[in-house]
Structure formats: C-alpha cells, structure tokens
C-alpha cells in the first residue's frame, strides 16, 4: 500500500462518507411531522445521496479491487447515469416556472433499456477478459475489440453525459431566476444561489477524471487531482443538505391563480389603477411579510397573477420582487427616522421592514445603490 494509494483512497472516501451522512440527516428530517421541505424534493435528494456513495465505492473497487469491480459492472451501468438523472429531476421540480409539465419519465425508461442491453452484452464476455480490461485499461483484447473499445470510451461518454445534464440544470435555473422575480419577493430564498454554486462546481469537477487519465504517470499531479474532490464535494453535499433542511427555496406554485376568469373580466372594467394599488400597498403593508408572493396580493386586489405582474412591470418599470424590496427599503428609511424606534437596532428594524435576513437586505441595498430607481 503506497502513499499515493492512500491519498487516492482518502479522496474517494470523502464524498462517499459525506454523502451518506447528509443522506442520513435528510432521512431523519423526512420522518419528522412538520418537515420544512417538500417531500418530493426530499425523496429525490435522499435517493441521490444514497446513489453517490455507491458510485464512489465503484471507483474504489476499480482502483484497488478489480475482481469485485468486474462483478459489479452491470450494477454501475444503472447507477452511474441514474445519479445524474435523479439530480436533474430534483432541479426540475425546484425550478418549475409553472408552465412545465411533469418530469419526463421517459428518461428513466431510456436509461433502463440501455443499461439492461449493456448488462446482457457484458454477461456474454468471459470473466477473464473483463478482468484483464479492468486491470489494464487501454488494452485491446483480440476477439473482443468492440467491448475493449467500449470500456475505453466509457469514461468520456460518462463525462459528456454528466456535462449535458448539468448544463440542462443550469439552463433551467437561469430561466427560473428570471421568472421568480415576478412571483416572490423573498430574494434570499428565491435566488437559489446555493444551487447555482453547486452546479457550477460540479461542472468544474467533471473534467477531473479525464486529466487523471492524461497525467497518469505524474504522481504529484494525480495526488492533487485526487484530493480536489475532497475539498469540493464534501462542502457541496453540505450545501445541498443544509439548504434542503432549512427549506431555502421557493417553488412557484401557480395552479390556483389562473382559475377565476370572471373576476378578471370584471376587474378590467374597474381597472387596477396606480392610485388604488399604492393605497393598498401603503395601508396594508403586505411587504412586511418576508415570504410575500404575488399570489398573496391577487385576492385582495381582485385581480389575477398575470395581470398584476404586467401591471407592476408596465407602471413602475420593474419586476414584482424589486418593487416590493424597494418598498421595504423605504419602510426601513421611515422606521429609522421614526423617533419611536430609536432604541431598536438596525437588525430589528430590518426584520420589521420585511427583510428575511441580513444577506438579502445587503444584496438589495447594493443593487439599488448601483442602479437607483428613477421615478417617472
């Protein structure tokens, strides 16, 4: 057992163990009565956290125990691609902008068919040949050229496959972040910054196995590259687990809002004018609810979501989230000058104005400083 082996092992076991621990914590959370998270999301993430360790175990077997690795080959045809799909499914639900249909189950079916086909093919190859290919990757065994080539191609195929899914995820996230600004005013929850960090880091890690292949002789570099997953994947799992535990996201739920068309037509007669809208905002102060969503206003204003969103966008030339957060900033300024709140701390006033936490407040303050709103 050389030092390089041990460092490799540590590198592979870090994400393995951290993922199991995060999975266990989420399972414990799932069994609570008042769980903070959506059960579908929790289930998918738990599934993901239990597939990931199996995959890392496969890497350990591949490097250190080729015999076991050969036995498990068929299993990995299913599990390695499954992790990417499950995670994409998770992102899919999280970033639903209301227009999307159910997650296309066909993706799972395709995976199942392909993996079953590959497993059957693998079973026709003699054990010795498989072992030889696993032990000396890159060799082409005469008589089994196709299978040898497939084994070599497996790693690049997996990389491309994973990159594709992550890019899909990032694309959806961008779309969601645009749409959510017209839906929720809770900027720290709805921005899903943590998911963005997770996906970008994941994308950065994918080329790693390829580089290891290229520099297989260079010891120091391989060591460094093997340690990188420790540094990154463990905190990444923690990011996912923590934000799921605290429910740090907003799922756009638009199902109940598109119904009442009669009311909408009636509304168009009276018109939702600026005066009435502002009167409502200033009197009722809906913005002091940190989790305010656009659908919370529609009933009181006798309108529907689409109309209200368009109204705010055209009248004030900004989206719902920005409008509400500007109201909060104004409220905060009012509270500061109010002598009655003199002895309150800034943080207390910030809560009172409707900001859910300090970070959200700071982000809004910064953006408003950079592009101050010019009133029409």
């Amino acid at each position: 057992m050389t030092l390089t082996d041990i460092i490799h092992f540590i590198g592979y076991s870090a994400p393995l163990i951290s993922s199991i621990i995060c999975g266990i914590i989420l399972v414990l959370c799932f069994n609570r009565k008042n769980r903070p998270s959506d059960p579908r999301l929790l289930k998918l993430l738990i599934l993901y956290f239990f597939i990931v360790p199996v995959n890392w175990m496969s890497v350990i077997f591949f490097d250190f125990m080729p015999v076991v690795s050969v036995y498990c080959n068929a299993l990995y045809y299913f599990l390695l691609p499954l992790a990417a799909i499950v995670f994409y499914h998770f992102v899919y639900i999280l970033t639903n902008t209301g227009k999307d249909k159910q997650f296309p189950i066909i993706q799972y079916v395709i995976l199942l068919v392909c993996a079953t086909g590959l497993s059957i093919w693998t079973f026709t190859i003699p054990f010795d040949v498989q072992l030889h290919i696993t032990e000396y990757p890159g060799n082409i065994v005469p008589g089994y050229e196709a299978f040898s080539k497939f084994t070599i191609a497996r790693l690049p195929i997996r990389c491309i496959y994973n990159i594709a899914y992550i890019l899909f995820g990032i694309h959806r996230l961008f779309r969601y972040r645009k749409a959510v600004l017209d839906y929720s005013a809770d900027i720290s929850r709805s921005s899903l910054q943590w998911l963005n960090i997770f996906l970008v880091l994941l994308l950065a890690q994918i080329p790693l196995p390829l580089t290891v292949l290229l520099f297989v002789d260079n010891n120091i570099l391989t060591i460094v590259l093997a340690i990188l997953p420790i540094i990154l994947l463990t905190p990444q799992h923690v990011i996912l687990c923590y934000n799921m535990l605290t429910g740090n996201y907003v799922i756009m739920d638009l199902s109940e809002t598109n119904g009442d068309n009669n009311l909408f037509n009636e509304q168009q007669k009276f018109g939702l004018n600026k005066k009435r809208f502002e009167q409502y905002i200033h009197e009722k102060k809906p913005y002091i609810n940190p989790k305010l969503k656009i659908t919370d206003l529609t009933l009181a204003l006798h309108t529907n979501r689409t109309y209200l969103s368009v109204f705010i966008n055209t009248t004030y030339n900004m989206n719902f989230s920005r409008y509400i957060n500007r109201c909060r900033l104004e409220e905060l300024a009012r509270l500061r000058t109010n002598p009655a709140y003199k002895k309150h701390s800034e943080l207390e006033l910030m809560f009172k104005a409707g900001f859910s936490n300090y970070r959200g407040y700071q982000r809004i303050r910064k953006t408003e400083e950079i592009r101050p709103f010019k009133s029409k």
């Binding site: 057992m1 041990i6 923690v238 923590y242 701390s345 409707g354």
Partner: protein, 402 residues
C-alpha cells in the same frame, strides 16, 4: 490494497469525514443564528467536530503515513485530549441556566500544557528517531524513553479525562432533564430523547476506550474495538448535528435579559453587522418610550387575549402588522422573556387577581385556572413551577409592575 486494508482505512476515515461533514454543517448553520446563546452553542459544537476530525486524521497518519504523524504529533495530542472537554463544554452551554454563565477555560489547561511540552521536546529529538518511534508502534522505545512515554501517554490521560468529563456531562444532563420536565411535555419529547441516546453512546464509548487502552498499539488497528469507536462516534455525531440543526433543544439562557447589556437585541446581531455597527458607533438609547410597546399592550394586554388557551405567537402577527422574528425579538427585549413564559406569567398574574375577587370565593383554583387561559390544571402547575424555578426574581418584579 486488499479488502482487509480497505476495511481498516474505512474504520479510520469514517469518523474523520463524518466529523468534517458535521463541522461544515455547523459552520453554515452558525451564520443563521439569531441569539447569542445559540451562536455560542454552535461555535462550541463546531470546534468539537473539528477536534474529532483532526484526531482521526492523526490516527490515519499514525498507521498509514508516519512522517505526517510526526509533524502533527503535538497538535494531535492536544486535540485528542480536548475532544471530551469540548464535548463537556457543549453540554455546559446547552444546559446552562443563567445568562453570562461562562465556561471556565481552565479546563483546557492540562491538554494545552502537555501539548506544548511535547511540542518543545520534539525539537530536541531527531526526526528519524521520532519516525522510528511511530513506525515501531511501541508504547516505550529503548532510545527515547521519556519522549515516547509522553507521546504515547495520551491514551491513558485521555481515559482519565473521559471518565471525569463523561461523569460531569451526565450530571449536567440529568439536571437539565429535570428542569425541562418541569416546563412542558412537548419540550420533554424534543430534547430529552436524543440527549438520553447520546448519554448511552458516551457510556459505550467510555467502556470501549478502556479496552483500547489495554490493547497494544500495533494490534489496535485490527481490533474490533476501533470499529466500535468509529461507528458509535459517527452515529453520535450525526445525532448531535441533526438535533442541533433542527433546534431540538431548549436553551434556558436564550431570551433573557443580560444584566450588562442595554439591549438584548444587540445580541441578535450577526457578526458582520456587529462590525459595521461598531464602526458606526451607534448606541441604542434605553429610555425612549416605544410606540410599539403601547400598540402591543393596547392590542394584547388590555383585551386580555392571553386567556385563549390556544393562542400562539402566529396569531398576533397579522393584527400587529409585524412578522414573527420581529415580534419574538420585541417580546424578548421588552419583557425579558420568551413568548410562552411571557404569556404564562400574565396568566398567573390574572389568576392572582381573580382569586381575590369576592364572587370567586367559592370556586376552586382548578376552576379558575381554566378561565385565565391555562389548558389544564397540570399546565398551570408546570407554569407555576417553571416560574419559581427558572425565572430570576427581577423579571417577575418587572412583570408585576407592568
């Protein structure tokens, strides 16, 4: 590498990365804490996980990479001895009843002294001889008897520390359970169940560490007891991390007025804000009368809303045009107690008032208790006991003067 070696590596790596994961979770959660006591609790816990993680890293070095171990030897010594003390520190913060109850840092003195001694001593011993000491895996080597004895004494010193501090933890937790039982059923369910589980695990780990001490160092890695330690320790850490993240505990210190601070809210401020506030040098004024207090009392105290036994803090948010965090912080700051304590104290006061009324002379306390908003007689007794036990006299006086 064969299967046996992989299993050995796993037995060392599992607690190391479990602790690392829990450390990162705590690190993240610490940033979201609002009250000072919670931040303190999580900081201590964070250091506990860090110490465990580092110690197992040391074990890994000892058996698999001796040169690494030689470099970190003294730090490893310190962190290994600290584990149990930091754990006691965590239990101390969790169970402390008075605000401003400082954990005496003197507890860390022994590991610190031994660690520094080892560190200084290590300079006089050539690296090769230190390496030989580690690789031979003997308790005492022939060449550097004194040094190797000190370096390997950690197992015995640790056992000694474990016995004392586990006993202390048990003592504090039992007292804590008694105090919680007096408060409420819900809390009893929440905080007692897992703390009992943790106490059981600590007991098992303690017994196991006696076995570890009696095993020769070179056979330790193959022994079953190392696996038991790794497994139980990991499970224990996960339980602690989960329950702290879910806030399944009751901090007696949270939400009480600190004597040396003008304003409890200064404690609600996260670190980033504190820095900024210090630079701006703002000082909250203490005696400015607050409009909100009037509004709150007009809405809440005069109509005696608290006689509704099912009243929760959420019921007040909309009528008072505020939100939960703010209202809760407001009650803490203005009345020096949390919402439940505050309501119960009002009910007790109301009870005192109506028992003195002539028309209630013939009614029993049990009847009256229900009319002031206690769900049952038991709730009343518990509230009364809690007030007598936990509430400092000044807070009661303050209440009576409302």
């Amino acid at each position: 590498m064969n299967a046996e070696q992989i299993l050995k590596l796993f037995s060392v790596v599992t607690p190391m990365f479990t602790a690392l994961t829990c450390f990162l979770l705590m690190f993240r959660d610490r940033q979201e804490c609002i009250t000072h006591s919670e931040t303190r609790l999580k900081t201590v816990l964070m250091w506990y996980f860090a110490a465990v993680s580092f110690t197992w890293f040391g074990v890994l070095g000892y058996y698999f990479a001796p040169p690494v171990f030689v470099v970190v030897n003294s730090v490893f010594y310190f962190s290994e001895l600290c584990i149990q003390i930091v754990f006691y520190h965590f239990v101390y913060v969790l169970t402390s009843k008075k605000e401003g109850d400082r954990f005496p840092l003197l507890h860390y003195l022994l590991p610190l002294i031994l660690g520094i001694t080892l560190f200084i001593w290590s300079f006089s011993i050539p690296f090769n001889e230190q390496l030989y000491m580690v690789e031979s895996q003997l308790y005492i080597t022939s060449t550097n008897k004194g040094y190797s004895f000190l370096s390997n004494s950690k197992l015995f010193v640790r056992l000694f520390i474990s016995v004392i501090y586990t006993a202390l933890c048990f003592y504090r937790l039992i007292k804590y359970h008694q105090a919680i039982k007096a408060r409420s059923k819900r809390l009893k369910k929440l905080s007692i169940r897992w703390t009992v589980l943790i106490m059981t695990m600590s007991a098992i780990l303690l017994i196991n560490s006696i076995i570890i001490v009696s095993t020769p160092l070179n056979k330790l890695l193959n022994s079953f007891s190392l696996w038991i330690t790794a497994l139980f320790l990991s499970v224990q850490m996960v339980i602690i991390a989960y329950n702290t993240l879910m806030r399944n505990y009751l901090l007696f210190t949270a939400g009480k007025k600190e004597t040396n601070k003008n304003n409890i809210i200064t404690d609600l401020i996260p670190n980033i804000w504190k820095k900024q506030e210090r630079s701006e040098a703002k000082k909250p004024e203490n005696n400015a009368t607050s409009l909100t207090k009037e509004a709150f009392e007009n809405y809440f105290l005069k109509p005696k809303l608290y006689i509704d036994p099912e009243l929760t803090i959420n019921d007040l948010i909309i009528p008072l045009k505020t939100n939960r965090s703010y209202l809760s912080a407001f009650i803490n700051r203005t009345y020096g107690m949390n919402f439940r304590q505050f309501i119960n104290s009002l009910r007790l006061k109301e009870l005192d008032r109506i028992t003195k009324l002539p028309e209630n002379k013939e009614k029993s306390t049990a009847q009256l208790v229900v009319t002031v908003g206690f769900g049952s007689y038991r709730t009343y007794l518990r509230a009364k006991q809690a007030q007598n036990n936990a509430q400092p006299q000044e807070a009661i006086n303050k209440n009576n003067n409302l």
